[in-house]
Every structure is written in C-alpha cells, then in structure tokens.
Symmetry: C3
Subunit: 311 residues, 3 copies
C-alpha cells in the first residue's frame, strides 16, 4: 500500500517537473515538457555542453522540491509553476559559468530560491493582474553571473554565441531556415536547429496556436534584425529571436483578443521586442552579461498592461 | 454635409495634435501648442536641424492617430494626452540619430507605441495617484538609442551640446541670460534662446503661474549648477535646466498647495532635480546616451508621492 | 514654566535623534542609539575620519528636524523613523566625498530630504505591506555620489577599503575575528572591530535576538565570501558583511515566524545577500560607486514579500 503511494508520489513529482519544463513556453503539459527536454539534451550533447541538459533537469527538480518544502499551493506545483524558472536557471548557469562544484552549488541554491522569488514578484504584480513571467529566472541568474565576476571560485566561460562585430550575414535559404529555428531553440539557451524543430513539435502538442505564434515570432524577429543591420553572428545564433518568440506566444495567444486586431498587436509586440533586445545587448555590454529573457518580460508587460487595465 | 463633418474632423485632429504639443509643458491649450511648435521650428531651422521640427509634428500626429486607432478615451485625445510623448519622441530621434529612412521608420513606430506605453504606465502608477509624466517618451527613446548602437542601419550622430569637459564658464549678464533661456528651450531638445522666449510666451498664454515657475526653475538650476561646478558647456547649452523647468511647473503648480510652503517645496524640488540630472549624466556616460527628461520624472515622482499619500 | 517646556522639547528632540541612530539597526531605543553613536565616533576618530562621526550626528538631527517641519506624524518621529536615513546619509557623505563646505551643504540638503523620500517610498511599498528600509538613504546618497563626478566643487575621495584585487586572505583566528566584527561595524560605514563590539552591545540592549542574528549574519557572510573566493581586501574590511547583518536582523527577527523554519529562512536570506553584494560590486564598478546597503534592501524585500502575501 505505502509502496503504491510512494510510486504515485514519484510519478506526480516527475510529472510536475516535466510540466515545469513545458511551462517555460506556457504549456501546462508534461508531454510538451518531455519533448522540450529532449530538444535541450539534443542541443546540449550536440554542442558539447552536456551539463546544460543535466542542469535543466536538476534545476527543475530542485525548484519543484523547494516549492513543496515551502508549502506553496500544490495546484501550482502540479501545473509546473514552481519549476519552470528553475529549469531556465539550470540551463543558464552551466552555459555561462565553468563546470565546477561551486557552480552546481550555486545552481541548486538559486534554482531553489526561484519559487520564493516568483511568489514575491507575483504578489507585487498581481496588483495589475500580470505575473512575473520568467523574470525570477532572469533576476536570479543575473545575480549569479554578476557575482561570479567578483568571486574567484566561480569562473565565467567565454559565452558561446557571444555578440561580436560579425561580417556579412549569409542570406541563403538554408542559412535563414537555420537562423529561424535557432531563434526558437535559444528560448532554452540552446543553439541547435534540431532542437528548434523539437520545440515546435512540443508546442504543437500543447497548442497549435502557440506553435504558430512561435514560428511567426522567430521569422518576424529575423526579418527586423536583418533589416536594421543587427550583428550578423547574433542573428545566426538566434540571439535576436528567443525573446520575440516568447513575446509572440504570450501576447498573441491571449484568449479574449481575437481577429486581426489581436494579430496586429502580437506582431507589433514582436517587433518591439527586437529593439528592446538590441538595446539591452548594448546596456549590458560593459559587464559582458547576457540579457537572458529580460527583453521578453519587459515588452510583454508593456503590451499586457493596457490590456489588463481594461482598455 | 459629409464634407462639413470631414472638415470638422480635420480641425479636431489638428487641435488635438497642437494641444498635445502644449501638454509637453502641461498646457491643455492648442494656442500654446502652436507657439511651442513655432519655437521648435525656429530652433530647429536656426540650428541647421530642420528634421527636429518635422519630427515633432510627425511624432505628435502619429501618436494621436495611434490613440484613435487603439480606441482609447477620446476626451484624453482631445486634451492632447495621446500626443505629447510622441511629440518628444519626434524631437529626440532626429536629434540623436542620423537622418535616414530607418530613423523615420523607428520614429513612427515608437511614436505610435507611445499612447500604449503611456496607458500601461498610467495604469501602474494610478495605484498611487501619480501618472507617467514624460516617462513613456523617455523609455521608448532610450530603447531606440540603445538599440541604435547595436544596429548598423541606424547610426548615431554626435550629440549637439554633448557634455564634455569644458573650460571656465562665461559669467557675463548676456551669457547668463542666454543660458537661462536655453534651459527652457531644451525641454523640447532645442538649443535656442529665441525658442526659450517663445516657450515662455506659450506658457503665459496657458498659465501665468506656469510661466513664472518655468523661469524660476531655469534660473535656480543655473545658479545651483554653477555653484557646484557642473560642466560649463552643459550649463551653457541649458542641459542642467530643462528637467528642473519641468519639475518646477509640475511641483510648483499643484493646486491644493498654496503660499510659502508650496513655493519652498517647488524650489527644493528644482534644486534636487539638478543633482539628479548631474548624477544621471554620469550614470549614462558609459553608453553616451542622454538622460532626456528622466531626472524630471524621478524627482517629480519623489516630491508628488508624499503629497498624494495625503501627508 | 516655558523654560521647562523648552527643556523638555530639547530632551525629546535629543531622544528622537538617538532613537533614530538606533533604528538604523531596527532598535527603537535611545540607549542603543547612544551606544551605536559611541561606536561610530570611536571608529571615525580611530580611523582618522572624525567628520564621519559628526556627519552622523548632523544628518540625524537635520532629518529629524525636517520631519518636524514637514509636519509628519510625531509618533514616527519619536520612534526614530524620521532620523535613521539621515544618520546614514551623514555617515556616507564624508566617507566618500572630500571634506568641503559644499559637501556639508549636500549632506544637510540630502539628509533633510530623507524623511520626504522615505514617506514617498513607504507610501508606494505599503501596497505590499513592506517598507522602504534604508533605501531612502541608498538612493539619496547614490544621487549625491553620482552627481559628485559631474560637479567639480564636490570631489570624491579615494574610497577607504575600496574593493581591489587583493592577495590571499589571512585565515588566522584573530584575523577572522576582526573581519567578523568589521562586517558588523560597516553597517555604519565604519571599519573598526571595536565599533563592532560596541554595536553588538547596542543591539543586545534593545534585543538579544537581534544581537544574535547580527553575529550569525556576519559569520555566515564571512564563510560564504571566503568559500566562493570573494576579494580578500573586501572580506577583511567587512564589506561582504554589513548588508547580510542587516538582512539577518530584518528577516530573522520577524515575530510571527518561529522555530527551525524561521532560522533556515533567515540563514538562506543571509547567504543570498552575499551574492547580491558581490553582484552589485560588479554592477557599480564602471562608476566606482559603493553599493551602500542596497543588497540588504533588495534581498530583504525578496524574502519579506512572500511572507507578506500570506504564503
């Protein structure tokens, strides 16, 4: 009997963690989560950074466990809302910091803090009927990355796909397709067109509309970043795409808005995100710190707020 | 019949845009707006930057149109509240970015976003009975200027009147008068004492009290910036004056405060704005981005908040 | 008769100022305040910066007087809540700026603004049942320090105990004891182990629990900063300790939380503060501006918010 209960608990826990992976792209869906995770591992092993895949898993599990220990609302836990920031913390820390035990200690500490930080930020933002999106992940990872420059035991690694003054951009159809898919894969800090395809599949399992918006978001972002002459290496690595992809899903998929008006708002938000992304690249240049998904959070809030005010 | 309606619509639209120009300095008044606009064009053509004048007009018109299309409250539109941030976006973009078609595209895009951003920010700040002042302009222009450093198709121009280590300041009466008037003209990013006089006239049409506070604000800011040894070129160009001028009108003209107490609060706010201005000059130095009217927004909020709390 | 009233007023005023000194570490207690002030003067004269002690006294007195003149709630004044930000402004300005009359003018102006800024910030944060902690001090001092780099009449002094790439840290017991006490003394920007002992005594007079948490906070911060290889000079000067000490008292001493859970939350908050401190050191490096107690404010808010939301 107690064995059955235990086995059930384990299954519930695994499902909660996987749903947490799904919630990174707003899918309350363990199958989507498993597909996302396959994409992450695929990109991580393919790129020679297996620790990024394991980081995602550890981060999601620790964050979900922390939510349980803190005694937060279990419905939120089952919906994957405790875990998704931890998944992203777990992707980001091994991407930007050297693979040492101190890094893993930091990863566990900050992933474990993420439900607490989310709870606090959501409490603040509930005042205006918006929520913290991925900002708990962004703020915690920023703290860790800034701190790493002041702490010799936590070394930074040269950022893969760092924004550097690149040459001309390759405009062949195959290249553009790769860039477009990279824009989607970078949502999980992975630079892999195969992961991009897996992520689209994962979205489609949860919501065809979300999959459509993700594809449109990355395409529009690619076009705008080329048109305005953004850095070619950054474009190729999908670094102008991942925040617009998230904005596209968040702003485009709002239920109560329908028709052409909703589409125009979604596309406008996507275009705005590209400029916020370019601006934040410059803002963070003095420290060499990545923007993470902050451009998405800021733009999505700007576009969701007037909606929430009932205007 | 339909012709009359159409002509009326055109007149209402023009009036709304002009009132929007007036609202930059809190004047709900199309005549003030026309006088402000004359000053802008005067300074723009006089300084060899005609695009700044046309930018103001285009920005105001696009923002007003955007408010109409978004279906916002038409009373706000008639009061010029849709347009004034767009006017300032339209002044700033051609001042700091090269005169290319991409710049004009950005100008239209960001001016068009300004009513949306204002609506969101006002919704947030309504919680404390304050509003977004010119911060939608500041944040949108900052995004564009930061992004321009990451996008080759949008080049920055050397800032006219950029803050550089200057020599000694010229303390003759005529020079001080010019500096004082420049402090007022720079509210619209124009460096012209003639525009300064026109702006005082425009204010006086709307409110003598506002005209008085603008003059006092620029004078006090001039004195404080000289006393504390601020950069002489910046002082001469009125760059320590424009934010204090706006603070002076905003804090000094609050209806419910009267008498000597109100005057002291207004002057204290003006002095504080000069230090916030100097501090933000330093803060933004690593990127060479101007403060715009952020020092005004921050200081005015600080001084208006305790007032709103009923203390 | 009127003499008695006057004498009483003077005593009440002195008591309010001293209680304000006590409130820097959350002690509503004039005796604690006097002990804190002895520690400040002891460290200030010992280190050759007597102006820091006098600054604390002037800042506290000016801020208390400003609260009176502004007509704020006198119960708050008697509780030392008008004065404590002014005390800290008064410690910080002579520490980081040269000892000129303009510096004293700035000190008086900004200390005098502190009750107004506190009132505004508290009004904003009351929405979430938190308060501004020492953030009025932080923001006002930041404005002054940033502005000082733009104003020739207010020169910066080389920061004593500035964070520089240091050698290996001295791990002898006596050295570690000194570092641990320095972490406590730096709450008032003083680098003196004797002051640290006086501050612990001052806390113990008000609350034994607070004294315990301050000692634990500094010890844990010392351990974490050594473990993660933070800068050795900064560790020796207690610069990784003062914000965690404040976090420890603020988060650890919350009445409604008891037992092991409360202790774990307090210690977690202390550890988090060390990383926020290290991160902010890096963030502010381009300008050479100190973090002041911002890491404490940010971390304490993060940990107090979920508590306030009733979770």
């Amino acid at each position: 009997m107690s064995q059955i209960v235990q086995r059930n608990s384990v299954i519930i826990a695994i499902k909660a963690v996987m749903t947490g992976v799904g919630q990174v792209m707003f899918q309350r869906n363990a199958i989507s989560g498993i597909l996302f995770l396959s994409g992450i591992f695929c990109g991580a092993y393919g790129g020679g950074f297996p620790q990024v895949g394991w980081g995602a898993l550890v981060g999601g599990a620790v964050a979900t466990l922390a939510g349980l220990v803190m005694g937060y609302d279990r419905n939120e836990g089952r919906a994957g809302l405790w875990g998704f920031n931890g998944v992203l913390v777990g992707c980001a820390m091994p991407t930007f910091l050297a693979d040492t035990w101190q890094m893993w200690l930091l990863l566990i500490f900050f992933a474990g803090l993420s439900p607490l930080v989310k709870s606090g930020m959501d409490y603040v933002l509930a005042q205006w009927k918006i929520n913290s999106l991925t900002f708990p992940f962004v703020s915690l990872t920023w703290i860790a990355l800034f701190a790493s420059r002041d702490m010799a035991a936590v070394a930074s690694v040269p950022v893969c796909g760092e924004i550097v003054a690149g040459g001309d951009i390759d405009m062949s159809i195959t290249s553009l397709l790769v860039y477009w898919l990279n824009g989607i894969s970078q949502v999980f800090l992975v630079n892999s067109w195969i992961a991009g395809i897996l992520f689209i599949a994962a979205l489609a399992v949860g919501s065809l509309k979300a999959a459509f918006w993700a594809m449109a978001g990355s395409a529009v972002a690619l076009g705008v970043s080329i048109l305005f002459g953004a850095d070619s290496q950054g474009i190729a690595d999908g670094l102008y795409g991942f925040s617009p992809v998230l904005t596209a899903i968040a702003v485009g998929c709002i239920g109560s808005r329908t028709g052409i008006r909703s589409v125009i708002m979604g596309l406008t938000a996507v275009v705005a995100t590209v400029f916020v992304q370019a601006g934040m690249n410059v803002l963070l240049t003095p420290w060499g710190i990545p923007t993470l998904t902050a451009p998405f959070c800021i733009t999505a809030w700007l576009f969701l707020l007037p909606h929430c005010s009932g205007k």
